[in-house]
């Protein structure tokens, strides 16, 4: 463990660390654009410059590519370093349009932050800026603004080192250099392509789905777990801050998921997620079922719960199919309060892969497209090919129940969240909340438990499954 001195402070560094890594690990910040902890060292942005002090004099060099050595002394904030950083930022913004006012990245832009922190001066160049393509379709999902690009090459290295699609490159040269996708369109087939949007330290790479949607400071990230497959990647769901609710425009914007970004979790997904995780709004924002029903006739929630209780009490061979989209807490509540009232309770597979969806790869995507199969299997058995013929009541919790294959004459209780034709056919239908409306945890395929937080309030007409199971299972009739 070499000891090095950063700004005069003794710091213990790992043998194979660089000065930048040692500094960051010890809480000393050195700015960087092109360096990224998960990518190779490109060393092209030069902003991580530090001053190395030695007997024969001192010199400036980039810390991202400087291995530590015993007793070395570096300064991260000397007069020379500050002047050099300022000059580097002048170079980096030489052809940058500085159009922060209309740039989606404003507010979370590294270049913007560094400019205020380390430069703050207008451009000293008299030359007109180089014009380049704007609104270039990098893929079906991503727009590229070449004028904003600072050519850090993070996106290029991502496709070569992480997603392995080798889909991006830098074409031409000098100040005409352009990030471009390979002409055979393979970037469209990269299921991890959207990570380059987060990697981009400036506003060059933009999600088409988020373009001009919101200023990021009006949004709040709520920690959540992607339910798209059994990997259970940690994500942030971005939605309108309550203190910045929109009173004009469409009120649905206040309860919409504006975007999804990865939340770093080294045990599960590192700092990456797949594109399906970016499109969770497509799953969560389907038309919701918000009306309890008895055979399709609208009733109050309490009345539906009472009817369900009566059905459970009257049944001789009731069977439950529990959801593998239920949280561990809901599944435990079911086991605790309700499972004893059923002859059997089985795990149901709620969702099958969509047509054309990537089934599995050796990076993140897993074959089971449900978030909590492991958690459900820990408490309940897998469903048999056919339910026992004597079954006279089936409680179906969640999607994916095959009503055509239920035993003939069996009554049905359906707990669902989304509008579906079968809702109206169930003897009792009770609408239940979804992941974005409650707190809970999922257990992923490897046994890692991840928790998610609510972003939005549940509507009063929708039941919370955990409370519902207690009500359905209570010995005493609960007051309606």
């Amino acid at each position: 463990m070499p000891e090095i001195f950063i700004d005069g402070r003794a710091v213990q560094a790992e043998k194979d660390q660089t000065v930048l890594q040692a500094a960051l690990a010890n809480g000393i910040f050195i700015p960087y654009f092109c360096w990224h902890p998960q990518l190779s060292v490109a060393g092209n942005c030069r902003i991580c410059v530090v001053e190395v002090e030695a007997k024969g004099g001192s010199w400036l060099d980039i810390s991202c590519n400087m291995p530590v050595s015993e007793g070395m002394r570096v300064r991260t904030d000397s007069e020379e370093v500050r002047a050099q950083r300022k000059a580097i930022l002048q170079f980096i913004t030489l052809n940058h349009p500085v159009d922060c006012g209309i740039c989606d990245k404003a507010g979370e832009c590294t270049l913007q932050d560094y400019h205020y922190a380390y430069n703050g001066a207008p451009s000293i160049s008299h030359d007109p800026k180089v014009r380049a393509t704007k609104f270039f379709d990098l893929s079906r999902r991503i727009l590229l603004d070449n004028e904003r690009c600072i050519l850090c090459s993070r996106c290029v290295r991502f496709t070569r080192e992480i997603s392995k699609s080798h889909a991006l490159g830098i074409e031409d040269r000098g100040d005409h250099s352009l990030v471009r996708p390979a002409e055979d369109g393979c970037f469209d087939d990269d299921p991890y392509s959207d990570n380059v949007i987060d990697l981009c330290p400036v506003g060059a790479l933009l999600a088409k789905s988020f373009l001009y949607k919101a200023r990021v400071w009006y949004l709040r990230p709520t920690p959540s777990v992607c339910p798209g497959c059994e990997r259970g990647c940690a994500v942030n769901l971005w939605h309108r801050r309550p203190e910045w609710q929109l009173n004009a425009l469409d009120p649905r914007q206040n309860t919409a998921i504006a975007r999804v970004t990865p939340r770093e979790n080294p045990a599960v997904n590192g700092p990456w997620i797949c594109n399906k995780g970016r499109d969770l709004a497509a799953i969560f924002e389907r038309a919701r079922a918000e009306q309890a029903m008895l055979k399709g006739a609208p009733v109050g929630l309490a009345e539906a719960i009472a009817a369900a209780r009566r059905l459970i009490e009257a049944a001789r061979h009731p069977v439950a199919l529990v959801s593998n989209w239920g949280s561990n807490e809901e599944l435990a509540a079911f086991k605790r309060s309700l499972a004893g009232r059923f002859s059997a309770a089985f795990v149901k597979i709620d969702r099958q892969p969509d047509p054309g969806e990537r089934l599995e790869d050796d990076f993140l995507i897993k074959r089971d497209k449900n978030p909590n199969t492991a958690g459900a299997r820990a408490l309940f058995d897998d469903a048999p090919a056919a339910l026992p013929a004597a079954t006279d009541l089936v409680l179906v919790w969640g999607e994916g129940g095959d009503f055509a294959r239920l035993p003939a004459g069996a009554k049905t209780i359906l707990l669902g969240s989304y509008l579906a034709p079968e809702n109206g056919h169930a003897d009792v239908f009770i609408p239940v909340s979804i992941q974005t409306e409650r707190r809970g945890s999922y257990t992923n395929f490897a046994g890692v438990v991840s928790t998610f937080e609510p972003c939005f309030a549940k509507k009063p007409a929708v039941a919370d499954a955990e409370a519902l199971f207690a009500q359905l299972g209570a010995e005493e009739r609960v007051p309606a």
Partner: protein
């Protein structure tokens, strides 16, 4: 490109295994020499042959202006416009070429005979201004010498 593979194999033997991407430039040069330009099918073929991602070949092609993705005229007239040639009248020569050929730099005459280009230093400053036609240097050029030169080209 297929018929060049035996040549590429001989080139390959000169590199250690695992350095296939080092062959991109020599192979592209040979392809352009052979076809006159690098066609899209050549890029796909070379990527498959070398096992190099297509984007790396596209990067190399776009980095070097000497590579062409489209066919050009039978005679490629390249006029140097760097410092020495410019001081010795290259800009006037280029204007003369524009008028004579009726095309701007980067364009090909409608009959497909001539493509006019302006290039950076050709490394013959001592005999500026220099015009290169295909692989031949023509030194100390004047408008008259240009006219005589063009007249001799089919």
């Amino acid at each position: 490109m297929k018929h060049l593979v035996p040549e590429f194999e001989r080139l390959k033997a000169r590199f250690p295994a695992g350095f296939e991407s080092s062959l991109v430039l020599p192979c592209l040069r040979r392809i352009q020499e052979d076809r006159g330009f690098v066609a899209d099918s050549d890029i796909a073929g070379l990527a498959a042959y070398l096992g190099v991602p297509r984007i790396q070949i596209e990067e190399a092609l776009s980095f070097y202006t000497q590579f062409r993705r489209k066919p050009i005229g039978r005679w490629h007239v390249q006029a140097c416009r760097n410092v020495s040639c410019s001081m010795r009248g290259a800009e006037r020569l280029i204007d003369h070429l524009r008028r004579r050929l009726g095309v701007a730099p980067g364009e090909t005459t409608p009959d497909g005979r001539f493509t006019l280009s302006t290039v950076e230093c050709l490394g013959s400053c001592g005999t500026a201004p220099v015009v290169m036609v295909n692989d031949a240097y023509h030194e100390g050029m004047t408008a008259e010498k240009i006219d005589a030169l063009l007249a001799g080209l089919e």
